[in-house]
């Protein structure tokens, strides 16, 4: 049983540098959260099935897989999980497709403020659940 304030977050990005950047922001925002990392789609699917994280952050530009398809697949495996898709291409089409897939769009490179805002909303949502 998790404590109210401690959640698990999955960071999916093939760039370790990008994962480091998210970790750095999390160190300030929610240092107590448990973190999982995946460098590709297979690792991400395995992590979701095994650890049932509360939040997943996905890089949009992963090799070998449509990222929004991956987002949908991860949500299917764990419907309660909040998903954000990170992309440096702030095109309306990608933003629209992201929200259509039930995920939140976050611009890359991710700022602490933007990540904080997203995670705050996620926490509020989870804590308001019965």
């Amino acid at each position: 049983m998790k404590t109210v304030s401690r959640y698990t977050i999955l960071i999916v990005d093939d760039s370790k540098l990008a994962r480091m950047a998210v970790n750095k922001a999390l160190n300030t925002l929610y240092p107590e959260w448990e973190r999982l990392e995946a460098a590709n789609a297979e690792e991400a699917v395995a992590a979701v099935k095994q650890a049932a994280p509360d939040v997943a952050l996905l890089d949009f530009n992963m090799p070998g897989r449509d990222d929004l398809a991956l987002a949908a697949q991860l949500r299917e495996a764990n419907p309660k999980m909040a998903v954000a898709v990170l992309s440096a291409n702030r095109q309306q089409q990608i933003v629209d497709r992201t929200s259509a897939a039930g995920a939140t769009f976050l611009a890359k490179p991710i700022t602490e403020a933007a990540l904080g805002q997203f995670l705050k909303a996620v926490v509020q949502d989870m804590e308001s659940r019965p």
Partner: protein
Amino acid sequence: MNEFLEQFVLESRELVEQATADLLALENAPHDAGRLDSVFRAFHTLKGGAGIVDFIAMEHAVHAAEDGLAAVRSGERAMTGALVGDCLACLDQVVQWLDAIDRTGELPASAAAGAIVARFASDAPRESSRALSADGRSVLEAQVALLDAFTPEGWEGRVSSAARVAANVLASAGDASWAELLQHAAETSMAARDPRVLREAIEEILDGEAATLAPSAPHAPEPEPTARTLRVDTTRIDALVDLTGELTIARNAMGHAAKLIDAQAPALGALLKDPLAVLHRLTAELQHAVLGMRVLPLDHVFQRFPRLLREISAELGKPASLVVEGGDTEADKVIVENLFEPLVHVIRNAIAHGVEPAAKRAALHKPAVATIRLAASREGDHVVVEVSDDGQGIDIARIREIALERGLLDANALAAMSEEEIVDIIFEPGFSTAATVTGLSGRGVGMDAVRAAVRRLAGDVRIQTRAGSGTTIRFLLPFSVMITPIMVVGAGGQAFGIPLDAVVETLRIGTGDISAVGTAQVVVIRDRTIPLVSLATALALGQADPAEEHATVVVIEVDGQYGALRVDRVGERMEVMMKPLEGLLAGMPALAGSTILGDGSVLLILDLAAVFQ
């Protein structure tokens, strides 16, 4: 070196290696989609890494290359040797930067992406507009100095003010493409509480500009001359056309105001004259440029016909083949998109009525397969679209018979008509041999519908026919639909517009020259007896005063027929944008459209053919 920078260099070197391998493979196999995806992703990830470590120059350089590759992915440009070269040059620059980071443990302080960005921008149209004036440069340099003077107080204000000033300078230099870059830098500066990010961005623009303007080194490879095209959503072009139309209306409003001023204060009026003339010329040029953007090749509609012709020809049991010419001729999108229906009808007619039955063709030693020619060409400001067949031609005697049978004209009138005029009867409403003769040519729609459709596009239809050898239907269409020159006339206390190209002359005649023929009136002008219509009477706005000794008439020519339109007064000539009638007015037979005048009132434009019917 901190762990981020260490990881950045490590990853970037891997990505450069991957991207280089992909680019070299693409040089030999430009259509390898897998390689293209891979190289695009490598550049994208390089850009992302640069963003994470705040290496703005590299972010911009790689971004430019990524944009180039994105255009290849979306099919907007080809994978050329030149593009591969530019991408490799970008990677070379990245490697130099990475080496510098390895040496110093820091981001290179003087890195600038301008030269790389310029490589990718060099064939873009913005190059020509990209010239900062000396003043512009000094203003930008002042912003750099301002941002340099870093003090803890008030830096936020300085960042936003410097970003605003720099954006203005660049916008006035005609270059909005840096605006996004600046905004991004300003936001990053704000978020990082560090004005240096913006300072570097402005410096880079100054450097980049210098790089573009500097004469290219003699050994520098010339960029391949590629046709640079931009895909733009048509709704955006339409918005531009609408705005231009509104600008024209506003210009007319100013002309109206200037006239009022001129009447009251001629000295002030004279001041307005020249600037108004300039405005007039500029709006005309703008209109021309904007409409030049909204063009489509006629192939857009022509390409649907080969298949359609096969169907019609099978349906009617008459073998025919289609020859298409001039499909690359361009015309306004509105015209091209509205040509399909009338063309279908004309082509149906050509096969149904023009092409002889197989037995007759054989007897005449004509080829068993008839030829239908669909051709487009540009003639000055007009676009001509022709449908020709090699059939029997139009049977003039048969048209006479039908016109008599249906009571369209009496025998005397027919006897007085030339062959050409008789052929033109097929455009009359109620003639329609189509529905009755074969029951196959459309849904009982006659050539009158074809003519109406073409006239709605401000065009006209003509027929050339030769007995035994075929018929050509010729659509003469404007290149663009927007501007109609009109003349304003007053009748029954109201103003109306009449298309200026129909006006032959305006004159004053004695009312004694008007004579009655039955219920109609005629007038002799220059030895020609022409029908006269009082506009006020025709529109049920009142009768002309019988005591009047003189009358103002406008002599018009529609379809080669002369007519005299009696009006109360003749007003100014102007160019207006005619809009189709909407709502309540849509059904009015004598009206062709409307426009909004300088004083804000709506002017109705007459359909002269309908007025004289």
